[in-house]
């Protein structure tokens, strides 16, 4: 079986080349990708028993070389994905081999991360319109973005994360405020605190990722990543319905689309330096 691909994306010259290059690649254990319906609450733990009920799909990831900055080589080339839903919520499990657990972001260190992407708007039964290159001006996409460094931030909040060779005062000093933390004062979600390790974002093309209502915790996406035996297993979970017009909504029995991206911190991957997939069909079981 071969991946279904979106004809619209072919209009992109480089995207076209990319599709041609990957045309001979078998891309799934089981396609289309199905979100299995189960009764009861959905697991957040990536090692929960329930995940065994969900079919596994192998996703092909290739280095992002359509926009700058580009990468042309990457260690991570495969991702294993599963999905579960219970009629109210939907959860995805992403697993990939990664020899190193990179959770610290510093001047010369980067975090492991993964993301799933959905078109913000879809007409059931029709081809996906939004380009897999993070959408475009008229066709936004919704991205659920898990980052290992945010997982650390949620689990053990502190001022500095790197081992400290620079002898800085590590504890807040008496009367210390958040003054002179530009990003915090500007309301940048990257600088602020997080309730979950997953950002809920939209994009309208490369370089436009924008987090949605990061201050409203009730709209956040839950998630949990665990690194065991040189392998990341990450869950992301949200209600089937989107909280706003730009967020993807799912309905039992309807087809949709999903794409994936992974960043390997030890290979200095961040932003556009990532491995990613084209659209895959996603069916939410009735």
């Amino acid at each position: 079986m071969r991946c279904r691909r979106n004809a619209k994306t072919w209009s992109l010259a480089l995207g076209f080349l990319f599709v041609l290059l990957s045309a001979g690649t078998p891309c799934a254990h089981e396609l289309p990708f199905r979100a299995k319906r189960i009764p009861g609450p959905l697991p957040l733990d990536p090692y929960h028993e329930s995940w065994k009920q969900a079919p596994v799909v192998q996703i092909e990831l290739i280095p992002q070389s359509i926009t700058t900055p580009s990468i042309f080589e990457a260690k991570i080339q495969k991702l294993y994905a599963r999905a579960l839903h219970n009629g109210e919520e939907i959860a995805f499990l992403l697993e990939w081999e990664d020899e190193t657990r990179d959770v610290v972001v510093d001047i010369d260190r980067y975090s492991d991360a993964a993301a799933v992407m959905f078109p913000s708007h879809e007409t059931p039964g029709e081809e996906v319109v939004a380009p897999f290159t993070m959408g475009d001006g008229e066709n936004p996409v919704n991205i659920w973005f898990w980052k290992a460094s945010w997982q650390e931030k949620v689990e053990a909040p502190r001022i500095y994360y790197a081992p400290d060779p620079l002898h800085r005062p590590l504890r807040p000093e008496k009367g210390e405020t958040e003054g002179f933390r530009g990003g915090v004062l500007a309301g940048n979600p990257v600088s602020g605190t997080r309730r979950t390790p997953v950002a809920n974002a939209i994009a309208r093309g490369f370089g436009t990722l924008t987090e949605l209502h990061p201050e409203k915790t009730e709209f956040s996406i839950d998630g949990l990543g665990k690194w065991q035996a040189k392998r990341w297993a990450v869950t992301v979970k949200r209600s089937l319905a989107g909280h706003s017009e730009l967020e993807a909504g799912f309905k039992a029995g309807e087809a949709s689309h999903i794409a994936f991206a992974v960043w390997n911190g030890s290979e200095n991957q961040r932003g556009a330096r990532k491995v990613f997939s084209i659209w895959y069909d996603l069916t939410v079981e009735k």
């Binding site: 070389s65 926009t67 700058t68 900055p69 580009s70 990468i71 042309f72 972001v105 510093d106 001047i107 010369d108 260190r109 001022i159 500095y160 994360y161 790197a162 060779p165 620079l166 800085r168 210390e176 003054g179 002179f180 933390r181 530009g182 990003g183 915090v184 004062l185 500007a186 309301g187 940048n188 990257v190 600088s191 490369f206 370089g207 436009t208 990722l209 200095n268 961040r270 932003g271 556009a272």
Partner: protein
């Protein structure tokens, strides 16, 4: 990403840049006289306490003063980028080598490298360390055989910023009103592409806010027609802020244009990188020319000759006397009858300084107090 061709007057040719040429209405500029810098770090301190005293900024210096040739902040920043660029050529005043925008490859917009954490850990490395050794029989010759000089550095608020070119999110912008280059603190997601791209290493990653920050040219002061904090605090009066124009629009009544374009005494730092930096340096007169040509371009020798002859030229001296003479932003100046006067945009007089300090000669014997004056104080 377009492959625009833009005019870079400092390398005297067109060059590749990802965006088209668009010069701001006015461009922030500065001249630093390295001959007068004593490396006291007052500029560094005043900048530090004004802007970078927060968490994650412990080793962040928007202004630093390093000793050349062995001082670097971050470690080895200029020799590393020079090494990456490889040997390049100037021919008859025109740069025929590659800029960092032209030498790039591997999917990057700009040739660059990302420093390591510890490269920032020793801001005063190499401080006061001279090049060369004093040997028996040595005496002072020009240029000096054993030498060092201080190189004070801020963001150059380049006409063609590499940080801006490299940001995939377009989170860096150059202000139309004054050409100041800023990182949007709300839009930056901390990819560090700008830190990698800036050859001067004047964008910094803040490990606490997880985004990048840089010198803001004290824009709240510039907006009120004041010179910037590091300029105002300079006890050696080595700095002058002002508007800089491209050579074809140079205004000889503007002290920055006059010294840069008319007299060619102040030169850009590493013009061969191709960013058209807007901080200009008067090169140190005691340093061997080959080193200065590498650092300031082919005009170094002429600039030094002009500087040495400045004592004969009242207008040049007058422009120099305005360095550190006022906190206000000088747009125009005039020299005459032994006085240099600085004016603002509206032509209002801001400051008037004598070109030569007045001398008072007092008789050896003070008749009133019936004492002899000894030349002791």
């Amino acid at each position: 990403m377009t492959d625009g061709k833009v005019k870079n007057w400092q390398i005297r040719r067109e060059m590749a840049y990802p965006y088209g040429e668009k010069r701001p209405a006015r461009q922030f500029g500065a001249i630093f006289d390295t001959n007068k810098c004593i490396g006291c770090q007052t500029c560094t301190k005043s900048d530090k306490i004004t802007w970078t005293n927060g968490r994650g900024m412990e080793y962040m210096f928007w202004n630093n003063t390093e000793t050349k040739p062995y001082g670097f902040y971050p470690l080895a920043w200029d020799v590393r980028i020079l090494d990456l660029l490889g040997p390049q050529k100037w021919e008859r005043g025109i740069y025929t080598g590659n800029t960092v925008f032209e030498a790039t490859s591997d999917g990057n917009v700009v040739l660059g490298y990302l420093p390591e954490d510890l490269d920032y850990a020793h801001p005063n490395i190499g401080e006061d360390e001279p090049y060369g050794q004093v040997e028996r029989g040595d005496h002072i010759v020009m240029p000096h055989k054993v030498w060092h000089f201080y190189l004070p550095r801020i963001c150059n608020h380049c006409t063609y910023p590499a940080c801006l070119a490299s940001c995939p999110r377009k989170a860096i912008y150059k202000r139309e009103e004054d050409g100041i280059v800023l990182i949007d603190q709300k839009r930056c997601r901390g990819y560090k592409e700008c830190v990698r791209a800036c050859p001067y290493k004047k964008t910094y990653y803040n490990e606490v806010t997880k985004i990048s920050e840089k010198c803001i040219a004290c824009y709240p002061l510039v907006e009120q027609n004041e010179q910037v904090q590091c300029t105002k605090s300079c006890i050696g009066k080595i700095r002058l802020n002002g508007w800089i124009h491209p050579p074809e629009k140079a205004d000889s009544s503007n002290p920055i244009d006059y010294l840069v374009h008319v007299r060619k005494l102040a030169l850009p730092l590493y013009p061969q990188f191709g960013l058209e930096p807007n901080v200009y340096y008067i090169p140190p007169i005691h340093v061997p020319i080959p080193y200065l040509r590498q650092m300031f371009g082919p005009g170094a020798e002429e600039a030094i000759a002009g500087y040495k002859a400045a004592f004969r030229d009242e207008t040049v001296l007058g422009a120099f006397m305005l360095f550190g003479a006022t906190d206000r932003w000088i747009s125009r100046f005039a020299v005459g009858s032994g006085w240099a006067t600085g004016y603002d945009d509206q032509g209002k007089e801001l400051v008037k300084v004598p070109i030569k300090e007045p001398e008072f000669l007092r008789p050896f014997y003070d008749e009133k107090h019936e004492v002899y004056r000894h030349n002791l104080t």
